[in-house]
Structure formats: C-alpha cells, structure tokens
Amino acid sequence: MSEPLRKPAVFSLDDPRVVVAGREEQPAEAASSIDQGAQAEHLSAAPARRVWRWPWGALFWSALSGLVLLALSLAVTRFVEDLFARAPWLGALGLALALLAGAALLAVILREAIGLARLATVEHLRERAAAVIASDDRESGRALVADMIALTRGIPQLARARTRLAGHRADIIDGRDLVRLAERELLAPLDHEARRLVLAASKRVSVVTAISPRVGLDLVFVLINALSLIRKLAVLYGGRPGALGVLALFRRVMAHLAVTGGVALTDSVLQQLIGHGLAARLSARLGEGMVNGLLTARLGLLAIDLVRPLPFCALPRPTLNELAGSLLRSAEPDPAGDGRDRRDGPKSQ
C-alpha cells in the first residue's frame, strides 16, 4: 500500500548533483513549462469541451462555402484565361491580382483560426482555474500562473503586475491562493477598464436610442455597439478574436442572455422598472434608451464572464445594479441632454 520511503540524506553544496532552485534558474524552468503548457493547450483546447455530435450544420456551411469558393475560383480562372486571350499583359496582371487575393484570403482565414484558438485557450484557462480553486493543487496552480503571465504578455499596463507575480513564483504558495493572487494582480486593472467599457457602451446606446430618428436605426446601432463592445472586452482580457470569434462570442452571449434573462430580470427588475418609470415620465424615448442601455450593460457583463481568463474569486463580480446605478446617475444630472431629446423627439416624428 505504500511506495518505498526514501531515507534521509545530507549533501555538501559542492556536490555536483545538488541543484539549488535559485532565482536565476527558476524562470528558465518556468518558461519551458509555459511553452509546454501552451502547446498542450493548443492541442487539447479545441476538442476538449463540446459533447461530440454529428455536425450537420457545420458540414452544410463548409460544403456550401467550399462550393462557393470553387465557383469563385472557376470564374476567376475563366476570367484570367479571357484576359490572357485578350492581351498577355492583361492576363499577367489578372493572375497577379488573383494570387494576391488568394493569399490575403488565406491570411484572413489563418488569423480567424488563431483568434478562435485563443478564445478557446482563454476558456480552457478559466476551467483550469476553477479546477485549481477546487483542488488547491500547487503544481497546476503554478502552471496556470505561468500561462496567465504568458497570456497577458501583450497587455502593457500589466508589466509591473507581471513582474511582481513572477517574483512570487519562487515562494511557496498553495494553488488556490496562487489563482487568487494572479486574479488580484493581473485582472484588477482589467476589470476596472472592462466596467468602464461596458458603462460607456450602455450610455452610448441609451443616448442614441433616445435621440435616434427612426426605430430601425437604433436597433442597428445597438447591435453594432454590442459587437464592438464584445470585441473590445475580448481584446482587453487578452483574447484577439477576429470577426468569426466575435460572432461566436456574440452567439454564446445571446444564448446566455436567453437563459439567464429571466433570472437577471428578477434580481434587477426593480432597478429597471424604476429607471424606466422615472425616465419614461420624462420622455418615452429616454425610457426606451434606458432599457436598451441596461440591456447592453447586461450583455457586456455576460461577455466579461465569457472572455475573462479566470473566474471571479478574489475580486467582486461587477453587477448590473452597480452599472445601472451609474447609468441612472449619469442620466440624472444631464438635463440638457433630456431637453435636447425632447426637442429632437417631435421634430423627427
């Protein structure tokens, strides 16, 4: 039932077998583990999560896009041939342009793929962090912190936090505390910024809805704004999603919104009703704007949950009430906007 227990032993430091874990040697070891971790992640991240089913939808879209691509390339080939028939130099120019377009398309596809993989990495990190918090395992905690440092390498305002965190790597800290420490050091400034982004976006939406001349226009604006908010949040937390990535995120946010919509409604319905009621008394459009703003805020909060590489553990999760509070406050001391809104309202209708 037990492995053989090794006997105590004493060594002189001059013994060549003794390798002291010093500060200079630590990063090298850690760096290699980052690489390993990152590689392992790229390999394992993509197939990790989903329950596998026959992907009819994906198959359809891939086949269709393949067809379109084929048709397109056929058309282009024909066109280039025509050009060659007309004049050789025209043909050469056409060929060059076609090749350029093909290369650019490849690059775009590659970038999208990398963006998607990175999103998957972030999600995988979050799952690992949750596992470490549950298990309090030191080694996986260390690997996680190393990966977090690698992930946030592109975020300049975290340079100091990263060095501080890397400095604690030689300390003996348990897994759970390590994750909390990484969250506090790395994500506190990002959370702050994320809150600001969400608030700014929802303010913008509420103002634009309130003053938009046509009903359709504000919907378009809300949508575009939501997409750009999601993209900004993902970039903020270290993901670099392309257009596809943003769309995928948006889809998941909407799915979450549908699921949690009811729940969120109950916990913040008072806030919303009050906000709506107050604002609606001032102007129906302002009230609508408020509702749209709150919707954007909720969407932003959900997006934060999806793009944040660690779960909320040491830091408080931003809540809708808190954002709604600032949204309302920002609406109140701004009677000028309200006045303009009223002026604008009748004029547009």
């Binding site: 227990l5 004493v10 002189s12 400095g167 003996i172 800290i173 420490l181």
Partner: protein, 494 residues
C-alpha cells in the same frame, strides 16, 4: 473565600458567568467604537510561538512579503505600530529583543515560559475607501495551561481520586513509586506539616515531569502549571498533591487533607480561573502551533504522544460562532488555525503530507470546532523560513531537498558548521493512517516504516539572512505566514 466557592460551586459558576457577561457587554460596546481582535497564540513548548509572533509583528510593522494577505498586498494597510497593551498585569511580549536575536544574531529566540501580550494597531483603508483602525492584541500562552481548564469543574476529592487512580496504571507506577511511598506515610486526617506538603508537591511534580519526559510520554496531566509554572513557581498555590482521602470523611480543619484541599481550591481560583476569564474566554481568533516535524524526527511513538497531548489540550477548547447573541454573551474564538510549524525543514512537495498528518492529529478538535460553528483550517507554516530548496539529482527523479546553514551540533558530519548543506529529510508516508494505526500494540509492532528513529530527520537550521520586499524593504522570508494572517484577521480588514 475559596471555601465559600467550594461549598457552593453553582453559585461560583453563576457569579463567574455573570462576570463574563458583564465584561463581554463592555467589550462589545468598546468593540463597536474601536474594533479589536484578540489573537491567541498557543502550542506546547518549543512549538515556535515566539518566532511566529515575532515574524508576524515584524511583517505587519515593517512590511513583509505577504502576497496572499490581501490588505497588505493590495496596499490598503497604511501602517501598523506597536502600542501600549491594555492589560497591565501581563508581561509584554519582548518583540524587540526577539527580533534582534533573529535578524541580527541569526539565532532562534529562547522560548518564553509564561503568558505575554502585545498590541499592534493597524491603520487601513477599507475596500469602500474609509480610513479605519484595527487593534490586534496578540496573546501568547503556553499550551500546557489549557490542561487546567477541566479543573474548573472538579473539586479536590474528585481530582485526587482521579490522579491517584491514573498513577497506579502499570505504565506510570514506576515513575510514581517515590511519590506513592511518600503519600502512603501521610494521613489526610492528621494535622498538617508544611515540610511534608512541600515534599509531596515536589515528588508529585517530579512524577508529572517524568511522565512527560518518558519516551513514549505518558501524556500530559494537569495541573499544567506544575509543568510550566510561569509566575507562580514556589508559591503555596502550587504546593499541593493528591492524597488518599478516606471515603465519606470530611478532613478536619488543620489536617493535611484540609490543607491540600485549600491549596487546590486556591490554585483553581487564583491561577486557573483568572487565566480562563482574563485571557482564554476573551479570544476572538486562535492559532495552535504544533511542531509535528520534531515528533516525526523522534519516531512514530513521539507522534502518537504529540497527538495525545494535543487531544488533551484541545478538549479544553471552547469555540463557537460570534453572532450578535454570542458576541454579546459568550465571546469565543470563531476561527481556529492549526499550523504545523517549521515547515521549512521540508521541501514544499512534502507540505501536503505534513498538513494531512496534522489534520489527522487534530481531527477530534476540528470536527468539534466545526460543529460549534467555528471556521477551522490546517496549514503547514514556517514563520521564518530558514532554507531554500534544491534538487539532488539521482535515481527516480532526484531527491527534493532543502539548503540552509545547519544549527551548531545538528549535523555530526564532515560538513562543519560554517557551510551550507543540502538535506533530504526523508519521505513522509503518503498514507497517513500508517502513523496512527489505532494505537493497539500488535499494529504498532507491525507498523512498517517511520517507526524507527532515523527514518525521518528534520535538521534544525539557523535563521536566514533577510530578503527584500517589492518595495525594497528588508523582510523575513516565510512560508504561508501570509495565508495564516489572511485566515486569522483578513476578514476584519475588509
């Protein structure tokens, strides 16, 4: 006065409760204005209490490397300073002297043998931005004193009968022979002679110490001050011993029996009860330091002794969640931390096993404290980390070792005292139950490893040189002292 208590123990109890309630009320009111946390630090002698307090206060006052202690890591603590302590009758913890010993002389401070206290006032900014202060009273008391708490509910006759019965068990009879011979010559009903009483107390103390010093020890027995006298050494309150009282006969005034009973009551009322009332019942947070490694070093028998001693001590604990009702009427520790000290004598990969061993040792106390609503945690801790880590390459992935300057006389080897050495202390068993195998004799014999001394060797090291914090302030290195702090007072600094 003691006789009055003796005659009406219920009245005494009520008076006692009333006193505590009155005091709690006063403290509750005071606590609203000046939030105060009383942190009890205890453990058996040589468990590392002094070093723990020294390192903790040094870290708070001078700024330490505490990444896990959130208020300090996030910079919310503006400063902390020593301040005059509230209890004038209690010696002050000699922080300055101990710090000098550790930092300047690189020696471990000598152990303290009585209660002491230190007050640290922490100025901090709460998470919502208000400037606050928290007063932290650190109370250091020997764990042996906790043995006395059950005496509060025993009178002399009960105690005497109990002690005599225990001293006649086969394993203890040898140690108690001299005491038995002396007691046999004392007639409890005859007039008392001071010299006889003194001799009885001396022999009784010698017997208690022999029981404790024996390998394997025969467990700790009250009165705790006989083992760890503090200020009372030689006073009449400590000059008593159990006597063979005749059944149903009240010893007449002036007899040996009456003298001993009076002194026992005096001990209870002047030594035990004040300690309980003034210190123990007022603790908000408690950390129990346990030197598991030295016990492991001495072999499995010592581990079991340690467990017995801990069980005896922790049985006396009184814990419970605060709540407004509890806070008002029965202040008691609502967070208890069990810490295996001197964890720097192990490579960090072995810390989980160390924690597991301690968890097993204190299981009973943990489940009871948890049941009473107190939060309990177990950690491996080194208040001052004297070693670094190294890997000795060799078979099966190498030996995870530690490097440090061994204390003089620790390593009788060709290495000498002046140079650092790498030590592999030996593996701890992954299956902890091997160490605590029900304790029956056959299973002890069958216990596979680590029963013998020498299967595990925890070398003592000299204190380390200072390291620098992020701000460039010299600080003492440590292992998980920040986690202990976060657990003990982190929630009061929000």
């Amino acid at each position: 006065m003691p006789d009055a208590f003796h005659v009406t123990p219920i009245v005494a109890d009520i008076v006692e409760q009333a006193r505590q309630v009155a005091r709690s009320l006063a403290e509750f009111g005071h606590g609203l204005v000046h939030p105060t946390v009383r942190l009890g630090v205890t453990g058996l002698s040589r468990a590392g209490k002094t070093v723990f307090i020294t390192a903790l206060v040094h870290g708070l006052v001078r700024g330490g490397r505490f990444p896990v202690f959130e208020p300090m890591a996030s910079g919310r603590i503006a400063g902390a300073a020593l301040s005059p302590q509230p209890d004038d009758a209690v010696p002050r913890f000699e922080y300055e002297r101990h710090v000098r010993t550790v930092v300047a002389e690189r020696e471990w401070p000598e152990s303290t043998r009585q209660i002491s206290e230190l007050r640290v006032v922490i100025e901090y900014q709460s998470a919502n931005g208000a400037m606050r202060t928290l007063t932290l009273d650190i109370v250091d008391y020997p764990g042996e004193w906790l043995l006395d708490l059950p005496l509060l509910e025993q009178d002399y006759a009960q105690w005497s009968a109990d002690m005599l019965a225990r001293s006649h068990t086969p394993s203890r009879r040898g140690h108690a022979a001299a005491f038995h011979a002396h007691v046999a010559g004392i007639d409890a009903l005859k007039p008392a002679q001071e010299t006889v009483a003194i001799e009885a107390a001396r022999l009784f103390t010698a017997y208690l110490e022999a029981c404790r010093g024996e390998r394997p020890t025969l467990g700790l027995m009250p009165p705790g001050r006989f083992l760890m006298p503090g200020d009372f050494a030689g006073s009449p309150a400590l000059t008593f011993a159990p006597l063979d009282l005749p059944e149903g006969q009240e010893p007449p005034a002036g007899s040996h029996g009456a003298l001993m009973r009076r002194r026992y009551d005096a001990y209870r009322d002047m030594v035990v009860r004040p300690f309980f009332r003034e210190h123990f019942a007022r603790l908000d947070r408690q950390i129990v330091l346990v030197d598991v490694l030295s016990a492991l070093d001495a072999g499995a028998e010592a581990v079991r002794d340690l467990q017995d001693a801990l069980t005896a001590i922790l049985d006396c604990f009184r814990v419970g969640r605060g709540g407004w009702f509890g806070a008002l009427f029965r202040p008691s520790a609502d967070r208890i931390l069990f810490a295996a000290t001197k964890a720097d004598r192990l490579h960090h990969t072995a810390h989980d096993r160390l924690e597991e061993i301690l968890r097993r040792m204190t299981q009973r106390a943990i489940s009871r404290a948890g049941g009473a609503g107190a939060e309990v945690d177990v950690i491996a801790l080194a208040a001052v980390r004297a070693t670094r880590e190294a890997l000795v390459q060799g078979e099966s992935g190498g030996l995870p070792s530690i490097v440090g300057l061994a204390a003089p006389g620790e390593v009788t080897h060709e290495f000498g005292d002046k140079k650092e050495i790498a030590v592999f202390p030996g593996d701890l068993p992954s299956d902890v139950s091997q160490l605590f195998d029900a304790g029956s004799e056959p299973s002890r014999a069958a216990m596979p490893r680590l029963t013998k001394k020498g299967d595990f060797r925890a070398v003592r090291f000299r204190p380390p040189a200072l390291e620098l914090t992020d701000d460039g302030v010299p600080a003492l290195p440590h292992i998980r002292l920040d986690r202990a702090l976060q657990f003990l007072i982190g929630d009061r600094l929000r």
